[in-house]
């Protein structure tokens, strides 16, 4: 199908964009990479009367690293970050290679995927795993929304209709930390049935920091807090990792759909958490 007619604006600055957003608010959709929005327009799942194309807005295309703090401008393409991270942050590269297919990543933006907030997509979970945040601007000012507060439901976020995301912020795992990333999908490039991202830091034989994010299993990406607590302070033994994987499904409200029933998603969550933690433990260098 073809998208329904819409009015088109292509502002050149963030200020112009947020003025347009303020005046059109609920009627408007922001177009960045368009790899999620344009299919929704074509299927008429979304019918905005105004499309604000931010692709020509200047100043939103930078990737800046300061220690473990990473800032990714809202127009940075997934492919750009994938290439940037190749030598620097293997967890990011691995996760990004699961996002759609190469021609999708050429155009799709990192921030767009985060803001679209599909519960089965990789980048929202990665933002949660890496204690990230979303920086949003409106005529009312700038605010930073922690990933833990950002994702509120399927395709629902804490973003107000007049806010424009200008940047996502990530905390890269320190160089000695280990990581694991596993995903189960029907076909490569599909949305995940379930996926797990894990980071472990180890010092003097014990886990000092554990981060586990699960996606695809529930209506939003989630941190497996019980599992993280069960790891912290303990040696990353096989038994401890297995117990943490079991706890990753504790309190999990797994979803059912035509692709997989809830019990299957919970079972896969446990298996993939175990695999991600095993990889992370094997990659972690003891910081003693």
């Amino acid at each position: 199908m073809k998208p329904a007619p819409f009015e088109y604006f292509d502002p050149r600055t963030v200020d112009e964009a947020i003025i347009l957003l303020e005046s059109h608010g609920d009627e408007a959709k922001v177009l960045a990479g368009g790899q999620s929005l344009v299919p929704m327009l074509a299927l008429r799942l979304a019918r905005p009367s105004v499309v604000i194309d931010v692709n020509r807005v200047t100043g939103l295309d930078g990737v800046r690293q300061n220690g473990t703090a990473l800032s990714v401008g809202a127009l940075v393409r997934q492919q750009t970050l994938e290439r940037w991270a190749a030598e620097r942050a293997p967890l990011l590269t691995t996760a990004l290679r699961h996002v759609g297919h190469a021609p999708i990543r050429t155009r799709g933006t990192v921030a767009g995927s985060v803001v679209h907030a599909d519960p089965a997509s990789e980048l929202p979970a990665l933002l949660l795993c890496l204690d990230g945040a979303v920086v949003a601007r409106s005529r009312r000012g700038t605010r930073t929304i922690a990933a833990g507060e950002f994702f509120q439901g399927p395709l629902m976020t804490a973003l107000a209709p007049d806010e424009l995301v200008t940047e996502t912020r990530w905390t890269l795992p320190p160089p000695h930390a280990g990581w694991g990333f596993h995903e189960m999908a029907r076909r490569q490039g599909d949305f995940a049935l379930v996926g797990v991202s894990a980071v472990l830091s180890v010092a003097r034989g014990r886990v000092v920091d554990a981060r586990i994010a699960v996606f695809g299993a529930a209506s939003t990406p989630l941190r497996a807090r019980d599992a993280e607590r069960a790891l912290t302070g303990h040696a990353a033994s096989e038994a401890t990792l297995a117990e943490a994987a079991r706890l990753a499904t504790a309190g999990l409200e797994a979803v059912s759909d035509i692709h997989a029933p809830a019990a299957y998603r919970a079972s896969v969550t446990r298996t993939l958490t175990a695999r991600a933690l095993t990889d992370a433990a094997a990659r972690a260098k003891d910081a003693a």
Partner: protein, 158 residues
């Protein structure tokens, strides 16, 4: 809805066209410029048939609006052959029976070109990953993968 005039450089030729905002790049190429080699399958970014190259990178032309593309340099399947002489990738598809009905072929040829331009000797896994976003419903992927492997050898040796 206000139409706008944009300039596109397609296969080295400049075109000026006036489009309404919702005109996809795929439709602009096919219907405004008559370049019907770009095929439209699903119209929502799943099948890969409409893949074209923008500055050498593969993109879904059904997920772009022509109005966004002012000044863009594009390659479509019509830009591959040199007159009567097929591009080496097209030759390889012919030689290995890498197509039957041909519907998915333009998108796969351009995806393969982008792959080989960036990675002249890909492994079979890399080839399969690269065309993972292109659906074929008749040939089966085996001959397509073989065609791209053959093309990588002819291109590297020539």
């Amino acid at each position: 809805m206000t139409a706008r005039t944009v300039r596109l450089h397609v296969n080295g030729v400049s075109h000026t066209l006036t489009v309404e905002p919702r005109r996809t790049l795929a439709d602009a190429l096919r219907e405004d410029l008559g370049l019907t080699g770009t095929h439209v399958g699903c119209e929502h970014g799943v099948c890969g048939a409409c893949t074209v190259l923008w500055d050498g990178e593969p993109v879904r032309s059904c997920l772009l609006f022509a109005i966004q593309m002012d000044g863009a340099s594009l390659t479509t399947v019509e830009g591959l052959a040199d007159g009567e002489r097929l591009h080496p990738i097209q030759e390889a598809f012919w030689a290995t029976h890498g197509l039957q009905c041909g519907f998915c072929t333009p998108g796969i040829l351009l995806t393969a070109k982008a792959l080989l331009d960036q990675n002249p000797r890909p492994t079979e896994t890399e080839i399969r990953e690269a065309i993972g976003g292109n659906l074929c419903r008749c040939t089966g992927y085996h001959f397509i993968v073989e065609a791209i492997a053959v093309a990588s050898r002819t291109r590297t040796s020539s």
